[in-house]
Symmetry: none
Subunit: 233 residues, 2 copies
Amino acid sequence: MSGHLRVLLVEDDIDLATTVLDYLALENMSCDHAANGVAGFNLARANAYDVMLLDINMPRMNGLAMCRKLREEGVDTPVLMLTARDTLDDKVEGFRAGTDDYLVKPFAFAELIVRLQALSRRRSGQARLLTVGPLQMDLDQRQVRREGKALTLTPTGWQLLEKLMRHSPGVVSKSDLEQLLWPDSPPDSNAFKVHLYKLRMAVDKPFASALIHTVPGQGVRCGEAERDGEEAV
Amino acid sequence: MSGHLRVLLVEDDIDLATTVLDYLALENMSCDHAANGVAGFNLARANAYDVMLLDINMPRMNGLAMCRKLREEGVDTPVLMLTARDTLDDKVEGFRAGTDDYLVKPFAFAELIVRLQALSRRRSGQARLLTVGPLQMDLDQRQVRREGKALTLTPTGWQLLEKLMRHSPGVVSKSDLEQLLWPDSPPDSNAFKVHLYKLRMAVDKPFASALIHTVPGQGVRCGEAERDGEEAV
DNA sequence: AAACGGGTTAACGGCCGGTTAACGCTGGCG
DNA sequence: CGCCAGCGTTAACCGGCCGTTAACCCGTTT
């Protein structure tokens, strides 16, 4: 169920880097690698990763600075610092730079893997029962109910709804959803639109209000209707 | 800006528990406490916490089982395990139960605090916000409010405003903004001016004061009105 | 006065998103 | 063995939004 994470490793020690790459490959994770901070920064800005592994001591730009700069630019991919610095101040400094986790060298690869998975799923959720307003998805029994009534979803509809509910009330970009359905190559047709439409038919049509909303130019959101904050001043 | 987190501590060692409570109080975090797994489970299900600290060795229900049960019930609050067990297998087991982080006793309180903040930063459902004066941009729900009222932006307007708010109160050069919209080749028309104008219509027109200011010859700035004494000599 | 930087409009056209219907594959069942 | 149902895919159509463009306007500068 780890589902093919995309990882970015920024590490100047080539031996360590290749070893990590090997281990990640065993876990079915794809991993890009950069040997210095600047190269890593550019990769991180250009591609969308699920999690990043950063060394601190690196040529050209160190891991802390790189993390800080990424955060300033709005990149909020989870970051796991990999470093030999183990004093308390180092750790506090790391977290202040926007790190999510901190692992001291030398470390066990099993722990690296497991922390990495924890980081990546922290965004996608890990509960077995998802609830969004009147919608309830039971992942063990594989059934969805709205206001108590069971809904029948197609397999793809299920995939979409699960991702939407996991991110609720956040917006999920169209490209993310497409990548979910077609990991390698999104089709050139409008298949996606049709799937989404049919999901709407299943989830919203039989009821009074819609739970699936498209945010123009941004993506799709699952949640209660938008309330315009009409607060008096 | 730790902003008053609500924490649940489940720990049967009363001495340790009171010490942790004291430290959290210093950080302006409110913290409930339970001394065994069952009590903790009930608290966790009843209230909404930002993050939970669980001991593993506890009477009635251990931390791992409690975490697992919460996940089954759909509670996805971040969990930080606090335990004396430090073998690799223990850690792997902990993460498998749905833990988000794992801290081995004895630990430094500064590290506890900082990891706890990192976890809550990622709290699912908690909005990532950009705030500039009365302007508030919710990056997850992809909506912008000013004085509570929701604004409707076009996709390009959103791009511009996000960059402006990120750099606020700094000035963003016109060429930077153009490069944001057209990475390869800025158009030869005045499309940029029009986009900026429409953004102003959306952000400033319905309100008394303007938040988007052009600094002649420099670029554009997002922020409260400038006090007069600014002249650089 | 002409040139320049910036602000304000209105109109056009393409693209995005929603909606249908039809086709084809696959797996189950008689 | 053949039929049917379910599901994914595709093409086509439509409406409205939004990006683009070319105007014109203004004040300041040269």
